[in-house]
Symmetry: C2
């Protein structure tokens, strides 16, 4: 047993944690022993390992730095065919090739240290080494073939992260930012359609892709291309993994060109929510474990259990996210924390992070909880924050999101060459491309047809084609696929997912601008303006009736479910959780008088008018939502106090300016650019 | 061997990394196996462990949230006797007591899995469990006594972090922020004294404490209070650990009361630099390994090797920090990255982090490198950033610093009860308190006497007493002490350090305000104003000669070394690295014409005048440094171009406003408060 015998690397050098841990462990292990030579050797080895970890992290930082500089160059030169995520992947690929073929492979493993334990592996092991006891932690199972693998390149293993890092460290800021930066007005206007696309659509897409892939797998078995087991549940899991769309590239271009806002809202809303659906769907499919002989056949009981798991995890995670959001809103409302933006920002960050932990501790899905927490924070807490904290929190999560996203994409590029267990099967890959195409088609077109039956403002053919086209796959599909690569089927799924992400980000992402013009989709839209009425959906009103036309349309557009929710939110939740809205004393029944007085902040009584306007200057598309529906749908029904009714026209005017202020805020980078004399307007990652 | 046999916890649940890792490992280990029951049990266990990790992290988040809310309450009610760090410790203590006595202790360990290996432990182990191979990583040595320890409380182990987490995750943001938020004007004016206190003073303090403690240890051996070995090098190490002062509480109060700026600069500068000195000093002492028989006696060769190690590590780390700072400055200068604040902030963050990794990869000390990187970034890069990025970077590191610092302090409180290897020796503790008192006295008074010989503006007795009093110990001493707690001596040192930190933060921190008034130290000072001349140091100038008096004084105050450096910085470094300063074509010799033209940014020629003023509005105490010395010391010597000379009076006026803008910027929280109608002015963590 040579010194290099068991030098398989701790797979987790990220953030130097494990590295530091290892080093400390070795340090403390050595400092207590007596043989100085031995000590020194261990210490040296630990330091060497620590150094290598630092180098591998430096590689990633170099990658990101290069990406940032090139992004700048691209933005500077107005290059649009390649998005920063695509760029990160290319750099990752290059570094991956260098690491793969440019670094020496270290010596191989000898035969394993075979102290047979009784029945199953312990998570921790104590080993007696010549009288001293050392503690070992379980890293994972290694297939017997791997043990004798001679090509064990140290550097390749160093740059391989633990898959759970993606789920526990990198995804949460991305997802939280998506929720926190949601443009609420257009999102809520299209809420029904978005929910339909995200839930129904993703489920349809998952099952269609799963079944098609099962056909492909059957075919592969027939022609002898399959060398190991590939079950139906594996195919369904692949369907769930690959159904998480991530049109970050498309949305960036939409943002830049100011493309149609409703289409933007549909795409963005769908992609945000279907990430959550895909995660929970894949957990449910993993939980689908039929009992009895044939463990991979259909079993009704297990199926309904899976459905139950889906509903349970989803609603539980939703609740967790909403609850922490509400708690944060209450804390920021009832303390004067806004006097100290640093404290406020720190609290906001901690509470948002605790959502993740809380959900994980309760057995729900942290990433999903974080999404709904983000939405709640944006809807309520954001209103209570001081102006400085608003920009602080937004900027903080923007930076975290940017770094995490580009890290994942550059890691993807790297993984194509450094991941050691790739299985590329041409039949499977071609089948997968066809399946995702058909799955996306079956997701968009029938659903759009059904939705159009109920929608006043139809989703026209060009929009449908664009949505069909924008089914890019990204970070979420990758994180789901890399989570489990232990078996043959999962390895093949991972390799295929990687190729699909590459293809969609580069080819589809690059083709967005031509596609937009080919489909005649409006660009340069003022987000405050409503789209021009189309013949098949609207009666055109002329003359001075523009205002009322718009109000009517707004009224017609909002579904009854949404109206109900809006009324509840406006009359009860907003006044309880924020300083805005009508006083609770007017909306709550009289027997709740005492509670209502306690919960309503004094500001609401004194300067409700003034607050509304003040708010609408800063609130993320919120003030205008209040106004858009506030005066027509709600106030006209008489369900809120007289205060609201009086602000209808003033409110409308405030709205436009608020929306502009918002756009200015969200697109600060754009304005920065123009103010410096360039005409290049290129949005950053605000809405991805 | 029961299921609970080796359930010693992975010591590193932080950020859920290790937890996620373990979970993934178990997942992948189980999904590949065939026995479903076994699989399920392992999966369940892993999930349970993951859940516990989440709960333990939630505990810390709860602690920090509570701390934040109480800080707010204290600030709101103008309570000054307890600083937020002291508060965090108290909450930590309470939770520690609850965890210690309120949670059930799990079952004990059986005898260890004793497969004796040949000679020394491997970092990774492959274990054959009934035909399947599992990989284990070394966590560290366990003393034989611990193995049979029945009181192995799961929760206590869950909340115990790997010591290197403090060094690799929590200290870097704290130290970087200290460097980045340095108030440069007063720092540079007192540079000589600060360097003397930090280097000479810390070394003196370390050796005096070390020798005194060696006496204490000898005494303990005599009276039979010492049950294991305690070497002279251990005592010296204790001296190094405990010499790192951290007057965060005192500085917060100084900041709040606007106490004397020079005293502030001396204390802040010393504490920032002596952290670096203490780290490197302790590494050098660990590196002191005499050869031959008596391995703990004095050995001249080993001593000089240690001195060499000190110098090598210190200068290497300094270089690393300075180089990455300079690279960042060049990148931000020569690209138009400032058009995209998000990219700029991300780049700034990545480059600053890479300093740490680069230093660690080269075998230097990352924390020290990060400090000098912070100073360089503040001095050069900051000037090149866009206005938005300036506030973004400052706020980002402010939040990170705040969270990290309060986390460390609450962990300290927790550790008093949850750390399992405490050794409290009353003799050692009393000896340590006396030693640090004498060490601080020997550090401050003789050095101040010597410095006063050379200083125009003397450090008077009251200042010296205040500096003596402000020798609080904090995060750095804790991090150094917890780094190695494997032996008896180190455990005793750790427990003693913990008590010293508690005592100094609570008692000394709480006594700062009374002490200030008792020592008649000026409060409410306008930081722009110079202190009133004292009789023993200055000739008083009256009448309209105020300006020239001040200029003269400034000239006299700056030492020749500093003048030299300033001239070099102003004429060469600033023009190369930033957009300010005189054009290089005028300062460099004529044969460098081409290079000079390439390096000088076009802005410098066109609108040098305008730029100076523009800069001085935003640069962190930088514009005024340029001016304060620019017109007298440098320009009068004719070493810079005519452009500089013309700005003397204008510049002076700009200075005041720039300093005000800066103070406003740094103390944004204060202004926030006053603008909201309260009169409470309480600084946040800006300068700690």
């Amino acid at each position: 047993m040579a010194a290099s015998l068991h030098r398989r690397l701790p797979a987790l050098p990220l953030l130097l944690l494990a590295a530091g841990g290892l080093r400390a462990a070795e340090r403390s292990s050595s400092s207590g022993s007596s043989s100085a030579m031995e000590e020194l050797a261990t210490e040296k080895e630990a330091e060497e390992s620590h150094r290598q970890d630092s180098v591998s992290l430096l590689t990633f930082i170099l990658l990101l730095t290069l990406t940032i500089l090139t992004i700048w160059l691209f933005k500077h030169r107005r290059v649009r065919f390649l998005h920063e995520t695509g760029l990160a992947m290319i750099y990752g690929l290059i570094v991956g090739v260098i690491l793969r073929y440019g670094t020496p492979s270290s010596s191989g493993h000898d035969k394993p240290f075979s102290c047979s334990q009784e029945n199953r592996p312990f998570t921790t092991l104590l080993v007696n080494v010549s009288g001293k006891f050392f503690e070992y932690t379980l890293k994972g199972e290694i297939s017997p073939g791997k043990i004798h693998n001679v090509e064990q390149n140290d550097m390749l293993r160093k740059v391989t992260f633990d898959p759970e890092v993606f789920f526990n460290i990198l995804l949460p800021p991305i997802i939280f930012h998506a929720g926190y930066s949601l443009k609420k007005r257009h999102f809520f206007r299209n809420l029904g359609s978005i929910l339909a696309y995200a839930f129904l659509g993703t489920a349809v897409s998952c099952f269609i892709i799963g079944n098609l892939m099962y056909g492909v797998v059957k075919l592969m078995k027939l022609v002898g291309q399959l060398s190991d087991k590939f079950y139906y549940t594996d195919c369904l899991l692949f369907g769930a993994i690959i159904s998480a769309t991530d049109p970050v590239t498309v949305l960036a271009i939409f943002n830049e060109l100011h493309a149609d806002v409703d289409l933007y809202a549909l795409l963005f809303g769908e992609s945000v929510l279907n990430d959550a659906v895909a995660i929970v769907l894949s957990s449910s499919i993993v939980a689908y474990q039929p009992t009895g002989e044939n463990t991979h056949a259909f079993d009704a009981a297990a199926f309904f259990k899976s459905v139950g798991v889906f509903l349970g995890i989803f609603s539980g995670s939703f609740m967790m996210g909403a609850v922490t959001g509400v708690v944060t809103a209450l804390v920021t409302k009832f303390t004067k924390l806004h006097c100290f933006p640093l404290l406020e920002t720190a609290l906001f960050f901690l509470m948002s992070w605790s959502t993740f932990l809380l959900a994980e501790a309760c057995g729900f899905t942290g990433v999903v909880a974080v999404l709904f927490c983000g939405i709640t924070q944006a809807h309520y807490t954001y209103n209570n924050l001081s102006v400085e904290s608003r920009s602080r929190t937004k900027q903080l999560f923007e930076v975290l999101h940017f770094l995490a996203e580009n890290f994942i994409f550059s890691y993807m590029g790297l993984a194509l060459f450094t991941f050691q267990k790739h299985i590329f099967s041409p039949v499977f890959i071609i089948g997968a491309f066809i399946a995702i195409f058909l799955g996306r088609a079956a997701h968009i077109y029938p659903l759009s047809f059904l939705l159009n039956l109920g929608r006043r403002h139809k989703i026209n053919w060009n929009f449908q084609h664009m949505m069909m086209f924008s089914g890019l796959r990204g970070a979420m599909a990758f994180a789901l696929a890399i989570r489990d690569t232990a078996t043959y089927s999962h390895q093949m799924m991972f390799s295929t997912t990687l190729l699909i992400v590459f293809f969609t980000v580069w080819i589809v992402g690059g083709g967005t601008t031509p596609m937009l013009s080919w489909l005649n989709i409006r660009v340069g839209v003022d987000p405050d303006q409503d789209p021009p009425p189309t013949n098949d959906s609207f009666q055109v009103l002329q003359g001075d009736g523009l205002d009322s036309e718009r109000r009517n349309r707004t009224k017609q557009e909002s579904a009854w479910l949404f109206r109900l929710w809006y009324s509840f939110d406006h009359n009860y939740l907003k006044p309880i959780l924020t300083h805005s809205g009508p006083p609770l004393t007017t909306t709550l029944p009289s027997w709740c008088g005492l509670i209502a007085r306690c919960l309503t902040s004094p500001q609401v009584y004194d300067n409700q008018e003034q607050l509304r306007e003040e708010d609408s200057d800063f609130i993320l598309n919120d003030g205008d939502l209040t106004v858009t529906y506030g005066d027509t749908t709600i106030t006209a029904n008489g369900s809120s106090g007289p205060h609201t009714a009086t602000t209808s026209l003033d409110g409308r005017r405030t709205k436009s300016s608020s929306e502009e202020a918002l756009e200015c805020d969200l697109g600060a980078a754009d304005h920065e650019v123009t103010s410096r004399g360039t005409r290049l307007v290129f949005p950053l990652e605000d809405n991805a």
